[in-house]
Symmetry: C2
Subunit: 381 residues, 2 copies
């Protein structure tokens, strides 16, 4: 089997979110937005799909590298794309490689009529989810105060969630970042949901050591499950210092470059307690599974970053380590259950006990709404 | 798909090897021997096969644990078998789990009509092999002297091998272990094959630090590629010391218990330069791939132990790290190309350039001679 084409197809949808000047997503006015689907095709008609990479890099950089390859040679293809990043850092990002790798897993699963996790070796068919909030805001009825976070946490608990992760209020919001407000939000949430719900904090990412230490110490008193990325992850020495000085688990690296190599370094240097990776951060299912295996060998827990079909396939194949699925981002104004009109079924349905069931459909397990995509197509390349 | 049976079938074959009192294999008189094949069956008729585990442990311990499981849930099954080792160390060995795991990979591949490495994600279709000798002996025309090893290395070079690994003469042979003789053998082989052939040494496993250091220093002068297991692997401190004090790469751990956990520890403690694992040492393809991913993240080379279809599938999926396939054990008296009458085709055909081609048949890629097995069956359980 040989790859004969990789193409992109863009289509319109109505977005109800917008990004602020620092890149954080919030509820916004309805607006027209564009999503892109990557399709890999083989000479015998097999196809695989994944969402989220741009037409230009796929056509210009990826296509010449993968035409003629066996789509099942994911290890060879990933390695080649990874090496080609050296001269193409700006365009051939880990996110792009992640989309391509996911499309190849999707193709393999669809061709063999198996979900990707059964090719990897299955461990479980559902996973505990945590409700992951958007960053806070200044909207009336939004996530604009400790009490607002507390109310939203109670709503999530009532939906079945057993765990809740806070993204606090951050720049460009006035009077932020503010470690005291972060702690006040965390305290209000703990007070509202009681002692049994697992709570986590993902706060401003450029705090000083002292600010991060202060927040962590307070979270220890509030019995929080982890503290995530409170400082610049390029400053490994600060993470070593923080991990040494706090008992609350430090989670990372998430945004630091370097895929499995960086995770290995953080483990070696004890720069965090739990490791972190996501298919769109490190280049797909292939490297996430490598990181899972690295962490397993060291007895280090790995918590996957971001929602999505690719991460769910990994979680299904990596029972140890990996406790939670990140479900979100959530906000009181948005209906998370209805966010992707290009799918007939959301990727991550929540049951009444707070678990997400992992799709047993082939490949990534997505149920694509072809009529929607065709009906809203903008370009095809 | 559910597992409805796991059974064993033993059959006779003619062996031309025997084991000495220390467990080393040598050429021997023709004798009747027994091989055992494990078969996993599912409710929809899929089957998977692997050779080498005993009937009693399969029926008594493994069968109750895996009946009713989805055979594609290898991660779940492996984890359960691994945990059950705690109370069953004497019988439910990593070797037994390795055979079961290989049978499950064989089943998945056969059911999906793909070689196992294409499920994992392929990297390559051939791999460099080294000729791996039997331990030396006292036989006329055997591996009984430095010159005999040198002559055999030249024969192997003429067959196409680009690399040659020596197992020296060891107890119960008189006047062994003998570091000076080991070095004399290594020197004679280097002298005979010239500077371009890669050479490795796997010697007596209970040398002292001083003996191992002496051998390693001499091998550095002879440009050997690695020194393997010259001391008891439970003595990690000695390996740290040796690795620190020699420039020749130290290879290990091979026989130490603890699968990926022990490999992680050796990397963390710098107890070797290259890591080592084999499907029958650590419990199958599943943990070997974890170790490959662990090593990749740390930039540590992994050299697989022993020949066989399972290790070849791993090598095909783990281009980095992993340079060689261990082909053997070889001896001047034996025809390696004709050793397994229960196969229609050997697992590891050698090409004229010293590479082994990796089978593209489904599952483990083995071509089983059913007529032979049926015609020589002893018991079925």
């Amino acid at each position: 089997m040989k790859i004969v084409d990789i193409s992109t197809r863009s289509f319109r949808y109505t977005s109800r979110t917008e990004r602020d000047s620092e890149g954080h997503t919030h509820p916004g006015p309805e607006r027209e937005a564009t999503q892109t689907m990557v399709t890999v095709k083989t000479d015998d008609g097999a196809e695989g799909y994944a969402f989220g990479a741009g037409a230009e890099v796929i056509r210009g950089l990826v296509k010449p590298l993968i035409l003629g390859e066996d789509p099942f040679d994911r290890e060879k293809i990933w390695r080649h794309l990874n090496e080609m990043q050296r001269g193409n850092r700006a365009t051939l990002t880990d996110r792009v490689i992640g989309v391509v790798d996911c499309a190849l897993w999707d193709l393999a699963g669809r061709a063999l009529k198996q979900p990707a996790h059964k090719l990897l070796g299955g461990f479980r068919s559902k996973v505990k989810a945590y409700a992951s909030t958007m960053c806070g805001d200044e909207m009336e009825g939004g996530l604009n105060s400790p009490q607002a976070y507390a109310d939203f946490a109670v709503q999530c608990k009532e939906k079945g969630y057993t765990a809740f992760k806070i993204h606090t209020r951050m720049p460009p919001i006035a009077n932020t970042p503010n470690p005291k407000e972060d702690v006040a939000i965390c305290a209000a949430v703990r007070e509202a949901v009681g002692p049994d719900m697992a709570l986590m904090l993902d706060c401003f990412h450029w705090y000083t050591r002292e600010e991060a230490y202060y927040i962590g110490k307070e979270l220890e008193k509030l019995d929080y499950a982890w503290l995530e990325e409170p400082m610049d992850e390029h400053n490994t020495a600060s993470y070593i210092w923080l991990t040494e000085n706090l008992t609350i688990p430090i989670l990372g690296p998430e945004s630091a470059e370097g895929q499995m190599y960086t995770r290995a370094e953080w483990i070696r240097q004890k720069a965090s307690d739990f490791s972190r990776a996501g298919v769109m951060d490190v280049g797909g299912i292939t490297p996430v599974m490598k990181i899972a295996h690295l962490c397993e060998a060291f007895g280090v827990r790995l918590e996957l970053h971001s929602p999505g079909a690719g991460n769910l396939q990994c979680l299904a194949a990596m029972g140890i380590p990996g406790e939670y699925y990140e479900r979100g981002l959530l906000h009181p104004f948005l209906d998370y259950e209805a966010q992707s009109p290009w799918l007939n079924r959301i990727d991550d349905p929540l049951d009444s006990e707070g678990n997400v069931g992992i799709s047993q459909l082939p490949g990534l397990g997505q149920d694509i709404n072809w009529d929607y995509i065709k009906g809203n197509e903008v370009t095809r390349k």
